[in-house]
Subunit: 498 residues, 2 copies
C-alpha cells in the first residue's frame, strides 16, 4: 500500500465520521429545541451509542495503522494540515476509555435534562446529584488527559476547546485583565451615571421580533437555504455547516436582547456556513477553535451590532417593525445598546462586565477540576465572586446564579475562558480589518457591512482548521493574540465615547 | 460460549441497532418538516451512511455466528419470537449488497427532495430523471430479493411491508373487492344524491385548528410527554416510540380535513407509544407490519373518527373553537364526515372511494416492478385508471395525479396495498371489539372511547411483533383476515345508514 493510499483511506474514514457527526448534531439540536421531556432517555441512549461509535472508529487499530503508514512528506500542504488535525483527534480519543465516554454522554444528557427542570424552580439541591456525577466523570477525564499530555488537570480539559493554550498563558492574559477591568468598569459606570435612557415600551410581539431578527440575519448574509432560526431556553448555534440551526429566546417586554442574541449566533452561523467547501467532510474543514468561533459571534454582536453605525442602520427597521416611539431615537438606542450595568445573567451582560462573569466561572471550574473545592462549595464561591467582581448579591438565587448556564451540565469545563479570549480576538480582528479596509467604518455607516464580512470570510471562515490558532491569528492580524486591542476598544467605546 | 450467552449478545447488538435507528428516525422526521432545502444533500449522505452502518451490523459474520449458536429450544417463548424477528431482519439485509442499499438511500432522498419542488410546479418531466433512477434501483432490489425468496419480483418487495403475504392472496382479496366496490360506490352515490350538506364557512385559523387537533389527540390518549404535533407537506407519523412525531397540514378554508388527518396519525402514534416496553429495544417490540399499523390509524379515523357517535362528541368542541354556524349542526357534520365524493387526492379520499386509489397504484406499481411498463407510461395508466375506477379526468394534472404521493419517491413499492388491507383489518377488529365489549358503542356515544382503546391496547399495541401477523389477527378476532367485515361496514354506514 502506498502512503497516499493510506491517506486517502483516512480521508474516507473521516468522511464517515463527519456523517455520523451530522446525525449527532441534528439529534442534539432537536433535544434542546423541540424534544418532549419523555423522549430524553431514549435520545440520551442513542447519542451515547453514537459517541461510542465515533470513539471506536477513531481508536480502531486500522485508524492508527493508516496514520502510521501515511507519509506526510508526500502530501500537499493542506493535506498535511488535515493529517495534523486527524492525528490530534485520534490522540484525543485514544486516551479516553470507551466506558468513560459513554458514561459522560449519558450523565451529561441526564444532567442537562434535570437542569432544564431545576433551573426554573431555583432547585440547586435537585440538580446536585446529577451534577456531582458529571463532575466526578470530568475529573476522571481530566486526570487521564493530564497524564497523557503531561500537564495539569484543568489545562488538559482546556485543550479540548483551545488546543495549544496553557493555563500559564491564560493566567497571563486574565491576570492582565484583572488589573484594569475593575477600574475601567468603575470609570464607565461613573461616565454613564449622568445619562438618561428611555426604555422602549412593549409589548413586542414574538412574531414581530422573529421577523426583524430574520431581516437582520439576511443583512448579515445568513443563508436561509442552509439554516433556520428557532427558539430554545438557552440560545445556541447548532446543526451542521450545510444546515446551521441558531436559536434565541424572546421576551415580549423587550426588543433588543433577543435581537442581539440573534446577531451573536449569526456570527457563529456565518463562520460555519462559510468554512472551506473542499474540506467540508474533513477535520481541516472545521471551525478552528472555540475562541476563534466566539471571536466571530462577538465581531458580529459587539464590534458591529452594538456600534453606533449599525444601530443607525437598525433604527428605521425597528420603527417599521414596532411603530415609532421616543425611545427609538438613534442616540437613545445607541446608549441602550452600549449601556453598562452589572447584572446577574452572563448572556445578558454588557461588554464591559461580561469578562467578570468569565473570571468567576474560570476560578470556580478550575478549582473544581483540580479538586480544591466540591460541588457543594459552588454557591458560596459564586456569591463571594459576584459580590467582589460586580458588587451583586446572589445568595439563594441559584436560578440567576450558578444554575444559569448550560455548559457545566454536560461537563464542558474549560469552555468558559474561550468567551473572553474570543472577545479579545474580535477586537484585534476588527482593528486589522480596519487597517486593511480604510473604508470599512464609512461603509457600515452607509448600511453596508460587506467589507467587514468579506475580510472575515477570507481571513477566518475560509481558513477552517488549515492553520493552527496562533498562526491563523498571526496571518490575519500580523501578531499574536494581544489583549491590548480589547482594552483599547472598551476604553474608546465606553469612556472616550468614540 | 453457551447458547443463552449468544442470545444475550444478539440482544445487545439489536439494542445498538435500535439506537442507530433512533438517530435515523429523527433525522428523517426533521428532513420532512423543518430542514431547509440546502441541507438535503448532507442529510442524504448522513442517512445513507447510517443505512450502511445498520446493514453492516446486521450482516456482520459475528451476527450470523450468534444466530447460528443460539439454541432456540433453550429460550422462553417471547425470546423465541424475538429470535424469529432478528433472523428475518438479518436475512432481509443479507441479500442486499451494501452498495445498492447506499445507492437507494441517496437516490431516494434526492428524488424526495426533487418531488417536493416539482409537485407544486406540476413538473412531471423535472421529476422523471430522479424517479427513473429510484425505479431502476428498486427493480434491482426486487430481482435480488425474488431470487433469494423464490417468488415473483413484486411479491418480494411486498414482504418488506407485509411479511408472509403473497401476491396470490393479495389478488384474491383485491379481486373480491374489485367485484363489489364499483356497485357499492354507485349505490352510495345514488343514496347520497338527495342529501344537502352545508359546508362550514371559514376561514379557520391554523392556530385554532392546531389547538382543536391537540384536544382531540388528548381525548384519544396521545401522550404529549412522548410526542409532538407538527406540520409537513405530506402528513405522516414518524419519530420513535418514546418520542412520536406526527404531522398534518392545514387549509384555512376547511376545518375537518386536517383534523381527520390528525386522528388518523394519532392511531399510528398510539400504537407506537404503547408497544411492549420490556421489548422496546428489540425487533419483537416493534409494530407488527404496515397493514396492522394502518389498521390502527383507520380504526381511529374511519371506525371511530367518522362515526356518528364521535361526531356528536366533537360537535361542541368545534363550536367552542370556531364559534357556532348552521353547518355545525351534528347531523350535517355527520353527513360531511361521511360524504362520498370521488376525488383526485388519495389522502383526502372518502372511505368508499379510497380503495379505488389503492387498486390504481397497486396495478401500476406491480406492472412497473415486473417490467411491464416504464416510468414514462405512468401518466397514461393513471389517467386510464382514474377514468375507469372513479370516472375522473386527470390528464395533464400530475400534481393531483401521479405526483401526489411521497411513497414512490424513495422506492417504497409494495406499500400501497397495506392501506386497504389495514382498512379491512380495522373493520374486522372493530367487529371483534364490539363483540368483546357490548357497551363499546354506547360508551363512545357518551364521549368515552376507553373501551375501544383499551381493547386495541391489549390485543394489538402491546403485542408488538411477538406474534406473526396472521396469528395476531387470529388471536384478536378469532379468524383470519376476512374482507367481508369491511364490505359489511361500508354497506352499513353508507347504504343502510346505521
Amino acid at each position: 500500500m502506498t502512503s497516499s493510499t493510506a491517506y486517502q483511506q483516512l480521508e474516507a474514514r473521516f468522511t464517515r465520521l463527519h456523517r455520523y457527526a451530522h446525525l449527532g448534531a441534528m439529534a442534539g439540536w432537536d433535544q434542546l429545541t423541540l424534544m418532549p421531556p419523555g423522549g430524553n432517555e431514549a435520545r440520551a441512549e442513542a447519542m451515547a451509542e453514537l459517541s461510542v461509535l465515533v470513539h471506536d472508529t477513531l481508536t480502531a487499530p486500522e485508524t492508527r495503522r493508516l496514520l502510521d503508514e501515511t507519509d506526510a512528506v508526500a502530501l500537499e500542504d493542506e493535506q498535511r494540515a488535515n493529517l495534523r488535525e486527524m492525528t490530534r483527534e485520534v490522540q484525543d480519543a485514544t486516551v479516553m476509555p470507551p466506558a468513560l465516554v459513554e458514561a459522560q454522554s449519558l450523565a451529561g444528557a441526564r444532567c442537562e435534562s434535570i437542569w432544564r427542570r431545576c433551573r426554573p424552580d431555583n432547585d440547586w439541591q435537585g440538580f446536585l446529584p446529577a451534577f456531582r456525577e458529571v463532575v466526578r466523570l470530568s475529573r476522571e477525564e481530566a486526570g487521564i488527559r493530564a497524564e497523557a499530555l503531561g500537564c495539569g488537570r484543568y489545562e488538559a480539559l482546556l485543550q479540548k476547546f483551545e488546543p495549544g493554550l496553557t493555563v500559564a498563558e491564560l493566567d497571563r492574559i486574565f491576570n492582565d485583565m484583572r488589573q484594569w477591568l475593575p477600574e475601567l468598569l468603575s470609570e464607565v459606570q461613573a461616565h454613564q451615571r449622568e445619562r438618561r435612557i428611555a426604555l422602549p415600551e412593549g409589548p413586542f410581539a414574538t412574531e414581530d421580533q422573529r421577523r426583524l431578527g430574520e431581516r437582520v440575519m439576511r443583512w448579515l448574509g445568513f443563508d436561509f437555504d442552509h439554516g433556520r432560526l428557532d427558539v430554545s431556553l438557552h440560545p445556541f448555534c447548532g446543526g451542521v455547516p450545510e444546515d446551521v440551526r441558531l436559536t434565541t429566546r424572546y421576551r415580549e417586554d423587550e426588543c433588543l436582547t433577543a435581537l442581539m442574541g440573534i446577531i451573536h449566533e449569526t456570527g457563529h452561523a456565518r463562520y460555519e456556513q462559510n468554512l472551506p467547501p473542499t474540506w467540508r467532510h474533513q477535520p481541516a474543514g472545521r471551525a478552528r477553535s472555540m475562541a476563534v468561533h466566539e471571536s466571530q459571534s462577538l465581531s458580529f454582536e459587539m464590534q458591529l451590532g452594538r456600534s453606533a453605525p449599525f444601530i443607525r442602520t437598525l433604527q428605521p427597521w425597528l420603527v417599521e417593525t414596532f411603530g415609532d416611539q421616543p425611545a427609538f431615537q438613534a442616540e437613545n438606542l445607541i446608549r441602550l445598546a452600549q449601556q453598562v450595568e452589572p447584572g446577574l445573567i452572563r448572556v445578558d451582560a454588557d461588554e464591559v462586565s461580561y469578562p467578570a462573569h468569565i473570571l468567576l466561572r474560570y476560578d470556580i471550574e478550575r478549582a473544581l477540576i483540580e479538586g480544591e473545592i466540591e460541588v457543594e462549595d459552588i454557591p458560596a464561591r459564586w456569591d463571594e465572586g459576584m459580590a467582589r467582581l460586580l458588587g451583586l448579591d446572589t445568595r439563594g438565587n441559584y436560578r440567576d446564579g450558578c444554575l444559569q448556564d448550560i455548559h457545566w451540565t454536560d461537563g464542558s469545563f474549560g469552555y468558559f475562558p474561550t468567551y473572553s479570549l474570543g472577545a479579545m480576538l474580535a477586537a484585534q480582528l476588527m482593528a486589522a480589518a480596519r487597517q486593511a479596509e480604510p473604508q470599512l467604518d464609512a461603509r457600515i455607516a452607509e448600511g453596508d457591512p460587506s467589507l467587514l464580512l468579506e475580510w472575515l470570510r477570507t481571513h477566518i471562515w475560509q481558513q477552517g482548521s488549515l492553520l493552527e490558532t496562533s498562526e491563523l491569528i498571526r496571518q490575519a492580524t500580523g501578531e499574536a493574540l494581544n489583549p491590548e486591542y480589547y482594552r483599547r476598544h472598551l476604553r474608546e467605546r465606553y469612556v472616550d465615547g468614540k
